[in-house]
Amino acid sequence: MAIAIALIVLVLVTVLFHIFSPWWLTPIASNWGMIDGTIDLTVWVTGFVFVAVNLFLAYAIIRYRHKQGAKAHYEPENKKLEIWLTAITTIGIMALLAPGLFVWAKFVAMPEDAMEFEVVGQQWEWSYRFPGEDGVFGAVAARFYSGANPFGLDPDDPAGQDDRLVASNEVTLPVNVPLKVLNRSKDVLHNFAVPQFRVKMDMVPGMVTSYWITPTRTGTFDVLCMELCGIGHYLMRGRVVVAPEADFNQWLGEQPTFAQTQEQTTASAAAGEQHYVTCAACHGAQGEGNPQMNSPKIAGLDQSYIERQLHHFRSGVRGASPEDTFGQQMAGMSNVLPDDDAIASVATYIASLPDVPAIAADTENEGNISRGKKLYQNCAVCHGDNGQGIWTMHAPRLAGMSSWYLSTQLEHFRSGIRGTHKTDQYGQQMVAMANILNDSKAIGDVIAYIDTLDQGQEDSSDTATGRGN
């Protein structure tokens, strides 16, 4: 008896939960309202069956529960009833399937005039490509990938020269324009998903997958990766800005073409050396750092990392927090560099400095190396097993760098002082990773392990190629 009542209550609770749940489909922002319609239909049909069958079950239990002297009815089969039930079920299934297939036919029918754009996935970031004036994408292949050519375009393909490249996790798309989304992956499976768009498709290395959407609502939408792609899967985020077509066109015009990204810069180590004089006051003539001045070692970092951080300091992405006194100093110092060329030059110069040992701070680190080693596995996927840094993962070298500084930065990531700016995509990932070090000892343990990685970074091919392009 209790079980029958429990079933009735559970049916009631389920229905009420459904009605009052604050969690349901996000407001749609694409043309796929038909999918929502199919879901609504499915809710009604399956909801009715759920309630009806379970209530009948409860009723049967109440009515035919064991009573003294009762005997069950003997009826092995009832062909008529069985045929009826089969027929009704078949009709119900067809009622769900027919509209589903109808909508799927729309999904499969790519509009002829759809505007093409490409989403590129890699562990753990997005980038985007538009075909340029000629409307044709240049050929790509894995063998062309390099630091200077992160999209892997064939440099000799004329169709690729005008391709617009968006080396950022944020993309702008035009509203009310049918879009053919081409998905490509450089490494493992990914899935470019905007919940408000409803549709998505895995990106598979070695092939290009596609689907189409028409964004119907302007605004900014979160992109999430929806196919497990390694330990940084949950950090693989991006943003889609849906804008009026004119705004989109303007934005697109600001994106560099492939040809532009391949032009030689005027940056040079020689020019950088001039600028470095100011830096040397704190970071040392060899870039060896100075703990007394709270200046970390910078020799041994790769050029792209130095350049990115200098840009961040200069644009207020980093060093803006009043709690980050030395970051604020650095933000001030970065303004000494007059333009992007100067930043590129000084970064080139610093990257060319010979590696020197970091000046150790006075404080002793008593972290637990073996615990730190276990935790460091999480760091190693980007920073490398030997802490050598992997430039293509945008992860700087850790081994042999100023460990007091690494410790401070981990604290800063954890406390929201660094990496929280919305354009600092790698900083945001680092915030999430630093947050796994959530007891007082964990940071010290990891740093203690990194301190043991002092050797061997030169063996790694990861640092040798592509650095200082």
């Binding site: 389920t14 009573k67 089969e77 297939l101 899935n191 092939m207 390694g230 959530n438 190629t465």
Partner: protein, 585 residues
């Protein structure tokens, strides 16, 4: 012509004499069944603890240093793989299959007892290899239970080196074990049925196990070859599943392989696997309901045909797991149609369970409570299958918590409820003693209501678009704060339900000594396993003579009989049998 198998000649029983031959290197199907069962439950408890740690992270992100992303993805992967393969498959087929097949069809043992013993020991080795990956350098694989390449064997995924290697080796050994056991089950059912036990008189439990085993024998080879191919990709550097790609920014030597090929192979195994678990549960629950409602199963022939239809159809629905995999979208039409067709025989089974209760004499025993709980959760999980099978509905929900909610409801919770019901049902036969009824009922109520409150809300988080396999949701513009509160609630329920299982373990152990003696047939059941001369059944099961079957397995409450059940081995008395003999032969 009468044919007497060697195993039926009672003077050649080869009764084991020492402790080791009786309980360790045993060739007795009943001992092997218990070995399978205890090993599966032990490894299942590990998987249960892993799920608890996953839930802790999801409710309280950034609180536990030892649950970092690497560890979390390892927990996810090992939880899934252990539960699906090493617990559910092993327990339902190796455990219940072994115990029940010979007893229910009136055989003395499996036809290949030595192979049967080897099957268990290979299974044990596969479990040990799997567990050893926890101690391997880099730990177990964190590739998700689907083990999709390329990421499964590339740095960037936990255990990409040793963990995945041990996982693939363990799976290969498991499949060897399953094949030895499976060939045995099929051959025994086809060849060793006692006199009068026609196929259409077999209990549905045997039918479910029989068809599930055939599915396994046809489906596991697909997993076996994909495991071998991935091993080669990983160890030798072949490129079955590996196209030209970068790894941590470096060009690898791979070229020309197809990641989607692996998915096809995996799900060609993986979807039948769902029914490898579901069909034995369907069969068992049919017998539980019939016995405890004192009523024949409704529509027996339809039930058998439904099992067969589901078995056949389960081989042509696999790509509904791949609607958004990047395979050609035209496949969506075909697989949506086949997938929704399979709902028809499945729905018929549900109707027939409910109609068996209708006009029954329902005893709300512990096994019956679990059976009813199963019907409820299976209706829920089956209906959301109609959502995900319908390709357009799947596209937004794929890879979200809706999927997690769906498959836990339909192939996690549902079969587990049947397994509990089955353990309570057959415990008196296996041990000779009754379990503690109060503890059993408490265990049911807390598990049933608790587990439903774990998985129901997950569907709604999925509707919102929260992805599965996320270590942390972090901040987004569409996930409200309330979703995190719900996550805390789900975790509380999950940990509660996990702890409740201690009641079950206590009951099982306590009742071994202190349970009331059960007698041979405490439930008044008709099937042969309840008619053995000794309880627990002795070696050879039947004493000097094999039972002879005269009727189907469901003669409950036959009009004109004094008792409300007529065992299968009771001869038909003219005029007092309403069984439609013509229809059954």
């Amino acid at each position: 012509m009468e044919q007497v198998a060697i195993a039926d000649q009672h003077d050649e029983h080869h009764e084991p004499t020492s402790f080791i031959t009786r309980y360790i290197w045993s060739q007795d199907h009943k001992v092997i069944a218990v070995q399978y069962g205890l090993t599966a439950i032990a490894v299942g408890l590990i998987a249960l603890v892993l799920s608890g740690m996953m839930r802790l992270q999801l409710a309280y992100p950034e609180s536990f240093t030892f649950i970092n992303p690497i560890a979390y993805y390892q927990f996810v992967t090992m939880h899934g793989m252990i539960m699906v393969i090493y617990l559910l498959t092993a327990l339902l087929l190796g455990g219940f299959g072994n115990y029940l097949i010979p007893l229910m069809i009136g055989a003395r043992d499996m036809v290949f007892p030595y192979l049967n013993m080897l099957s268990y020991w290979f299974y044990l080795v596969s479990v040990l290899v799997l567990v050893s990956s926890f101690f391997a350098p880099g730990g177990p694989t964190g590739a998700g239970w689907t083990l999709y390449p390329p990421q499964a064997i590339l740095p960037g995924t936990a255990g990409f080196d040793w963990g995945i290697l041990l996982m693939l080796i363990s799976l290969a050994i498991f499949i060897v074990a399953f094949t030895m056991g499976g060939l045995n089950y099929v051959t025994t059912i086809l060849q060793a049925r006692t006199q009068g036990m026609t196929l259409m008189r077999m209990p549905l439990t045997v039918w479910g196990i029989f068809v599930a085993t055939i599915l396994g024998l046809l489906a596991f080879p697909a997993l076996f070859v994909s495991a071998l191919m991935m091993l080669l990709d990983h160890v030798v550097g072949t490129s079955f599943f590996m196209p030209a790609l970068l790894s941590q920014g470096q060009l690898t030597d791979h070229e020309g392989g197809s990641p989607i090929l692996f998915q096809h192979l995996f799900w060609f195994f993986g979807h039948p696997e769902v029914y490898i678990v579901a069909l034995p549960a369907f069969g068992i629950v049919s017998d539980l309901i019939s016995t405890h409602a004192r009523k024949n199963i409704f529509g027996y022939r339809m039930m058998v045909w439904a099992i067969l239809a589901i078995g056949v159809l389960s081989f042509i629905v696999w790509a509904h797991h791949m609607y958004v995999s990047g395979m050609h979208p035209w496949f969506g039409f075909f697989f949506a149609v086949t997938t929704l067709i399979i709902a028809v025989p499945t729905a018929i089974k549900v109707y027939n369970w409910v109609l068996t209760l209708w006009r029954g004499n329902i005893h709300l025993t512990v096994p019956m409570l679990f059976a009813i709980g199963f019907i409820f959760t299976f209706i829920n999980g089956g209906l959301t299958g109609l959502w995900l099978g319908n390709v357009v509905v799947d596209v937004p929900l794929s890879d979200t918590y809706f999927v997690v909610g769906h498959f836990h409801m339909v192939m996690g919770l549902s079969p587990v409820l049947v397994i509990f019901g089955a353990i309570y049902h057959w415990y008196p036969k296996i041990t000779g003693r009754m379990f503690n009824d109060t503890l059993g009922k408490l265990h049911f109520w807390l598990t049933f209501v608790g587990a439903y409150s774990i998985f129901l809300p997950m569907h709604y988080l999925g509707m919102l678009g929260i992805p599965r396999r996320y270590f942390a949701n972090l901040t987004t513009d569409f996930i409200p704060e309330s979703a995190q509160d719900m996550n805390i609630g789900i975790t509380a329920a999950a940990i509660f339900v996990g702890l409740v299982q201690i009641l079950f373990l206590i009951n099982m152990v306590w009742s071994l000594r202190h349970g009331k003696p059960a007698g041979g047939n405490p439930w008044g059941a008709t099937t042969l396993e309840w008619q053995t001369p000794q309880t627990p059944p002795a070696h050879g099961n039947w004493g000097p003579t094999l039972p002879v079957v005269h009727r189907w397995a469901y003669d409950y409450s036959v009009p004109g009989t004094a008792e409300d059940f007529t065992p299968q081995n009771v001869p038909v008395s003219p005029g007092h049998d309403t069984e439609d003999e013509e229809a059954r032969t």
